[in-house]
Amino acid sequence: MSRALGRAGLLLGLPVILLVTWWFASAGSKSFYQPPLETIIKVFPATWTAARFRSDVLPSLGRLFLGYGLAVLLGIVLGVLIGAHRRLRALVEPLLEFLRAIPPPVLVPILILVAGLGDPTKVLVIVSGGIWPVLLNTVEGVRGVDQVLADTCRTYRICGWLRMRTFILRAASPQIVVGARQALSISIIMMVIGELLGATNGLGYTVVQFQRGFEIPEMWSGVFVLGLLGVLLSLAFTLVERRVLSWYHGVRAAERSGR
């Protein structure tokens, strides 16, 4: 119990210090663009109402989950395919390196040109950014599966989907999770970028609207919401990771204790 409290303290310590510092540093600020934190917090309830959640937060979340989900799914499927076939890997690896080196936001104008300004494009924007870390990490994970385990599967005739789900995907899961975590933060960024350009609703769109309407405290509150979203999703991710990779942490701990 006290350990949990201690950890919560560590987790919240720095944010609390920063907020307090911000509060006092900005108190009484007359600058139009840097309103006092107090003002920002005051406008919060009026700005982020249930209606706004429905009209802006939910659509953003919907696009984010769809885009992120697709990025992870496609990344894993393609990554397994490429990782498992040496020829294919040799063929596409240079291409992948090239595509990965392109900063994803650069693709946004191209995607808009090709696919228009609708919702599908915004999802596509997220996929185009999020897929790379998942794909490349999955390839590495699948390529690095243990040879002895592979032989074990062959000897005991573990093949097909059973092999895929009890061997390949599990063996590659530590790397897949690393990729999926990177993809999550990239996806949030891409979600916002997609909404900055020609959207009619969403979190990114709302923040830009406030800025254009010179509603500066409201704009800041939107930035807060985005930050909060990132933190919550990252926490949720950690919870899932604990479950999925508990065996991996166990193995690591056993190795460290020298067995």
């Binding site: 002895v148 385990l149 032989d151 062959r154 005991y156 573990i158 065996w247 193995v251 056993a254 067995r259």
Partner: protein
């Protein structure tokens, strides 16, 4: 049961040719317990992998139960040298043992029964729910053996299964190997570089030369079927056989200049 004729295996690639097996001919009748001894690096693992259909020979023939080996043969199980890497770390002990049965299409209740039975047979009745990395090396190797037994193979190949465990555990596991063989009546090919172990366990000891590997001698072990760590090992016949095998292997080393 096992037929090996003029088996030769040359590993190529990376600008280095290694002749792991020179010309190996060996027959093992059904139900026999045969030990293969040879110096480290003489190609024992290579021999097993060829038998197990995990590796294609350069030339020569390999047959299991009258069938030429082209892939992993039916009813053949392998206990690998690297026990730590042959169990799936993300599966519990019982699930590890169950997996080959699942791919065989054995029903759930029957699977559970076989898993319990084989765990009891190796003396690990209460470890079903543990993860492999929570067990000691000797226990992990027992699990690997339990998995092999549960598969109900006609042929069991064991690759230096006890090389990495402490002496006491090793003695226990040796007796376990004999018990399992007597109880389930499979054909066993047991690879080791330990001469004592080979003489103690086998009905027959096949000595391999250093590479390019041939069969040096094929020796019948005329010790009584009931073996005991103390009585058998301190007997005069055991000592004779042991020193015979030892001197043959020494001779082979001296006969090869530059090794």
């Amino acid at each position: 049961m096992l037929e090996i004729r003029s088996l030769r295996k040359v590993y190529g690639g990376h600008g280095r040719q290694v002749e792991a097996l020179g010309d190996v001919t060996l027959t093992v009748p059904e139900g026999q317990f045969v030990c293969v001894v040879g110096p480290s690096g003489c190609g024992k693992t290579t021999l097993l992998r060829c038998l197990g259909g995990l590796l294609a020979p350069t030339s020569g023939e390999v047959e299991v139960a009258g069938q030429p080996v082209t892939g992993p043969p039916d009813g053949l199980a392998i206990v690998f040298q690297e026990y730590g890497r042959s169990l799936f770390p993300w599966l519990r002990v019982a699930e590890n043992i169950e997996l080959p049965l699942k791919s065989k299409g054995v029903g759930r209740a029957e699977r559970r029964r076989i898993v319990d039975e084989s765990l009891t047979a190796v003396g690990l009745g209460d470890a079903a729910k543990a993860y492999p990395w929570q067990l000691s090396g000797g226990m992990q190797q027992r699990v690997a053996i339990a998995r092999a037994i549960a598969f109900q193979p006609k042929v069991l190949l064991m690759d230096e299964p006890f090389a990495a465990v402490d002496a006491q555990t090793r003695a226990d596991l040796e007796d376990l190997a004999r018990t399992v063989w007597q109880r389930f009546g499979m054909t066993v090919l047991f690879v080791t570089h330990d001469i004592d172990e080979a003489v103690y366990l086998g009905q027959r000891v096949v000595m391999l030369s250093a590479s390019p590997t041939r069969v040096l001698e094929d020796l019948d072990i005329d010790l009584p079927d009931k073996r005991d760590q103390l009585a058998t090992r301190s007997g005069t016949r055991f000592a004779e056989l042991r020193s015979h095998v030892y001197s043959r292997i020494q001779e082979a080393k001296i006969a090869r200049p530059g090794s």
